[in-house]
Symmetry: C2
Subunit: 340 residues, 2 copies
């Protein structure tokens, strides 16, 4: 298997196809997002605008919209919930960038670099509170429960990741539990809430929760591989962030375990120095990337991602065929195949 795949044979990528299918709904979501990030305190909309303009594909609110359609929902509350999901995501991005002292996000300077840490923290809090305002307006206590639970799980995952910085002996299972919390919990909640507002039974809720969770895990694993992948221009994501921060991720765990199993002292020493002790020389990232490639660690990460993406697709079996099911199925495959 190779990392390189050509997806140019489709006129639209699956995510673009889904965005196209949900175009009208996403306009409504965008209106709510822009309305609710307003405040008489000027720094708040300025900073929120920066984040909104930086774009990203609004994957999480898109899940809420798509899953609502999949459940045959015909009301209006999915717009507010989708906006709430995006606000929770934006709040965590703002806080993460302070926590990680990141300089770039989606190819743009991060808010903390422009405005400083303090506004990033406080505007994150503001957006988080606004997310709950929006949820309250839908009147769905179940949706509130799902998203407030997800929010505390996300924070737990972030703290767990922080505690594991430089923990070179971290297991793959522990790592998967971190990303299930910090990344996949919001994908899962974003999907499950739609079943809830559509009044679906528990098996449907569970199916969508599983879809979101597995998709989120796959998404994060691919992100991990991309951080060592060298596609900076294409993705607007600088590479090597995880490495520089000593942030453990699947490829490094895989490569380190391989090296440890073989008793390769040179490789073990390299990971100890760079990740555990966070002592990095100029050329160490390059060296890390070539070690990961040599150990098949990026391919192993993508294989793992693919298996989770397949679980996401299987979770949709419960639904009848139709355009939304197809689009969500294609999305799950694409999340892995976007590595091109």
């Amino acid at each position: 298997m190779t990392v390189a795949q050509n997806i140019d044979t489709h006129p639209l990528s699956p995510i673009e196809h889904l965005l196209d299918l949900a175009a009208e709904d996403m306009k409504s979501v965008d209106i709510i997002i822009r309305e609710r990030m307003q405040s008489p305190v000027g720094m708040i909309p300025d900073l929120a605008e920066h984040l909104v303009e930086a774009g990203g594909k609004r994957l999480r609110p898109l899940l809420t919209i798509a899953c609502a359609h999949l459940c045959g929902y015909s009301g209006d509350d999915h717009y507010k919930l989708a906006a709430a999901v995006e606000f929770i995501h934006s709040a965590t991005l703002l806080h993460d960038d302070v926590v990680d002292t990141s300089a770039k996000r989606r190819g743009k300077k991060t808010a903390n670099l422009i405005w400083g840490n303090a506004p990033s923290i406080l505007v994150g809090d503001f957006l988080f509170a606004r997310a709950f305002n929006l949820m309250v307006e839908t009147g769905s206590l179940d949706a509130l429960e799902i998203l407030s639970n997800a929010s505390s799980i996300i924070a737990e995952g972030e703290v767990q990741q922080l505690a594991a910085l430089g923990d070179i002996s971290m297991s793959k299972d522990d790592y998967l539990s971190v990303i299930s919390a910090k990344t996949a919990a919001l994908f899962a909640a974003a999907s499950e809430v739609s079943a809830v507002i559509a009044g679906q039974e528990p098996p449907v809720r569970e199916a969508l929760k599983t879809y979101g969770l597995e998709l989120g895990i796959a998404f994060q694993l691919v992100d991990d591989a991309l951080d060592y992948g060298g596609f900076e221009t294409a993705l607007g994501k600088s590479i090597g962030d995880d490495f520089r921060e000593g942030k453990m991720s699947y490829p490094v765990i895989h490569a380190y375990q391989n090296a440890a199993q073989k008793g390769d002292e040179q490789q073990i020493g390299f990971w100890h120095k760079t990740m555990r002790d966070n002592q990095q020389a100029e050329t160490d990232l390059e060296q890390a990337i070539s070690l990961l490639r040599a150990q098949g660690a990026l391919d192993a990460t993508l294989d793992k991602a693919r298996s989770h993406s397949q679980k996401a697709i299987q979770a949709l079996d419960i639904f009848e065929d139709g355009p939304w099911k197809s689009a969500l199925t294609e999305l799950a495959a694409f999340v892995v195949d976007r590595v091109h």
Copy 2:
């Protein structure tokens, strides 16, 4: 009028009296707080424990409990709401200490100094999410609305305060609007939610909201005076924090406006240098304190606090006499008189 007042004639201070009256309830609140700050991620309870142990008087949850009794509430939901209020407060403290780069809080080292900024931010997020979990469990959408609105208003107030750092020409009205948001909004919400869960009519909700709001404004104004007051040991609060950060507060606005009115170039120059330009020499805090005293700025601040405390007390007129009304009345007076 003098700042010094002796309150040693009472065996219990009014806040201790209220804590005594609410002792059983506060135990239940404490149990919930300790249960819900748990997490398998060890750093979270460690850090939360530090904050909880640091103590403080739990004034905000105490308001929720006292107001619930005042409204004749007989259920159990006030415990969860009181714990939620304390979690929201704790989350804002954790974030504030990062924003202000504070080293001390209630006489103890701040969490950000011990654990670093990142865990303080993330554990704040965790507690905030847990607050919403607790609210959801009460099933009261009205309570959720009140507290989520308060949360976004608090964040707005914090950002507004940040934007006003060193803004020596800030008006008293603008300042009062900042503290209404950053401090008093939570006092107001903590009080109002009790009327809501007790099923009280809008006038009662409004009365308790007003009580909390006015009490919160009085409380913050007194805090402002204390920051220039030199009671470090008694209160476990280091003095001069606001000054060093260039954080505008009522006493400084009052003194600066006086100086400007008189055209006192020396004093104007002093405030420009120290607050606007944040250029401070070793002896400048002492100098600031003596200028504030000479201008009657601390007394003016306490007078202003007293007028808000009286408004709080008036708001209770709607209730029949009884032990809880008395205790809340005494509390409002004490919030100002604690300056001894």
